[in-house]
């Protein structure tokens, strides 16, 4: 699905991480952890092609990121669901329209009942007609997750998807991601929340990787 080979990324002042190699296989479930500023969000952005690495090879759905055109990248993103940390929306559209955006933007049909079910799953049925600026942080995160999965992606990349949610809602959303994973979707979640990782490991075979000391390491054996 997505593979990084010998990837390094520099931010002017120096390397954020070096020589990272990882493969996100179909049906795999990963957690990405690490201290603030270690480069988790940058790593995620490289995984969906918003950033190009300083060195190394990134392969998105069997295509080399370096040789992809903007349309190639758009085509790849049809199959990659992303929950961004900043949860950007189109503020002039309703929440429901925002959630349906990946289908709208790629001309795919939208099933009203599926959309309603999804809005119900993330607990936003009552807020379907609300505009994003009126949403709370938690509501934005739930909407961002709904938007990321509405098109049935092959890969789900979620950057701190439960940071503003209570434990009950975090578990609910995690179960949604686990269900998707059981249906074959590869999942990568960047998070600080160790309880969330413990909860997931009880449900699914999840691997934990950690960015620390500018390298990527396997971790989480103790969890």
């Amino acid at each position: 699905m997505i593979s990084l080979e010998g990837v390094s990324h520099d931010y002017g002042g120096g390397a954020l991480f070096r020589d990272v190699t990882v493969q996100l296989e179909p049906g795999s479930f990963y957690f990405l952890t690490g201290p603030s500023g270690a480069g988790k969000s940058t790593f995620m952005k490289i995984c969906y092609g918003e950033l190009k690495p300083s060195t190394g090879t990134v392969t998105l759905l069997k295509r080399d990121l370096a040789s992809m055109t903007r349309d190639d990248l758009a085509q790849a993103r049809e199959r990659i669901g992303v929950v961004h940390q900043d949860c950007s929306f189109l503020d002039h559209l309703t929440l429901e329209q925002n959630v349906a955006l990946p289908l709208t933007a790629t001309g795919r049909p939208i099933s009203d009942s599926d959309l309603e079910d999804l809005m119900g799953w993330v607990g936003l049925t009552d807020r379907a007609d609300a505009k994003p600026p009126t949403l709370s942080g938690g509501e934005r995160q739930r909407a961002a997750l709904a938007r990321a999965i509405v098109a049935g992606p092959s890969v789900l990349l979620a950057d701190e998807p439960t940071g503003n949610l209570d434990w009950e809602m975090s578990q609910r959303l995690l179960m949604l991601m686990i269900e998707l994973n059981r249906m074959g979707t590869a999942v990568l979640i960047a998070t600080h929340d160790l309880n969330l990782i413990r909860f997931a490991k009880a449900q699914v075979q999840a691997r934990v990787i950690r960015i620390a000391g500018r390298t990527l390491q396997l971790a989480g054996a103790e969890l």
Partner: protein
């Protein structure tokens, strides 16, 4: 929920630049109606002048008072027997006075002036052999000069043709200015909505989808503005006061009959122009937005 209506909404409605497009399109369409009317009128005028003058001629007889009647009779006889001449009529004194009135005023003492005698000639079938006719007139009536209006006709037709060229050039300039305004508006709209573009890109939208979302809005505004401007321009032409036959050039400006359909093409052309300009701009700007 269908994708169509939302696809139309992905670009925010707000933005003064879009209103600028409507206003500019209205103004440009208004001017284009007049330029088109001028172009068609000048073409019509050139044709009518060329046709009217090409079928008429004048014989001017300047002779001593005691010879003028004899020379007039000789000229009429020559004209009567010349192939290509349909009719020849001596112009009445009252008609000559009417011709001179705009320059010399009314109550003209025509009897006191040494005016030449004028004979109006109507030609047919390409007219007479002018060179031969001039030689015959010189032999029969030395004071007669055959004037087929060529020296009047040529500059008049040239002036009308040039007027038509200027009008067409104006249409091209109007189109160019409209295109420039749309390009500017599209560029501003895209730059002001970088966040929208980023979100659309992240959910898998291709450049074509993003460009169309912006282009649709701008083109529709241009179409609406141009339709309003065209309607206003046509109404203004209809409201032009009729100067009557006293100023035939002014009386000819406008559309006649089915030619009123021509200005209706202006909104359609504006839409096509706006679509093409804004689409080219959108793709250019999108290349620079990562």
């Amino acid at each position: 929920m269908s994708t169509g209506p939302i696809a139309d909404l992905v670009v925010p409605k707000a933005g003064q630049n879009v209103w600028l497009v409507s206003l500019s399109a209205a103004a440009m369409a208004f001017l284009a109606v007049f330029a088109l009317a001028l172009s068609m009128s000048s073409a019509r005028l050139a044709d009518s002048w060329a046709q009217a003058l090409s079928e008429t001629a004048t014989v001017r007889i300047a002779a001593q008072p005691d010879e003028i009647e004899a020379q007039t009779a000789q000229v009429l006889e020559v004209l009567r027997t010349t192939p290509g001449i349909a009719a020849a009529t001596v112009m009445a004194q009252s008609d000559q006075a009417a011709l001179l009135e705009p320059w010399l005023g009314p109550d003209l003492p025509l009897d006191m002036l040494p005016l030449p005698r004028l004979i109006e000639v109507t030609e047919f079938g390409g007219g007479p052999d002018r060179q031969g006719l001039r030689l015959r007139l010189a032999a029969e009536a030395p004071g007669a000069v055959y004037d087929d209006h060529t020296r009047w006709r040529r500059p008049l037709v040239q002036a009308a043709s040039r007027l038509q060229s200027f009008a067409l050039l104006s249409l091209v300039l109007i189109g160019g200015v409209m295109s420039a305004i749309v390009t500017l508006a599209a560029s501003v709209a895209l730059s002001a909505n970088r966040q929208v573009i980023r979100v659309l890109r992240l959910v898998g939208a291709r450049d074509r989808f993003i460009a169309r979302a912006f282009v649709r809005r701008i083109s529709r505004r241009a179409l609406a503005g141009a339709a309003g401007g065209t309607a206003l321009g046509m109404a203004a032409l209809l409201a032009l006061p009729d100067p009557g036959s006293a100023v035939p050039v002014l009386a000819g400006i406008g559309f006649h009959g089915l030619s009123w359909l021509w200005p209706l093409s202006i909104p359609a052309l504006t839409f096509v122009l706006a679509w093409a300009s804004s689409m080219a701009t959108a793709f250019h700007v999108l290349r620079g937005v990562t």
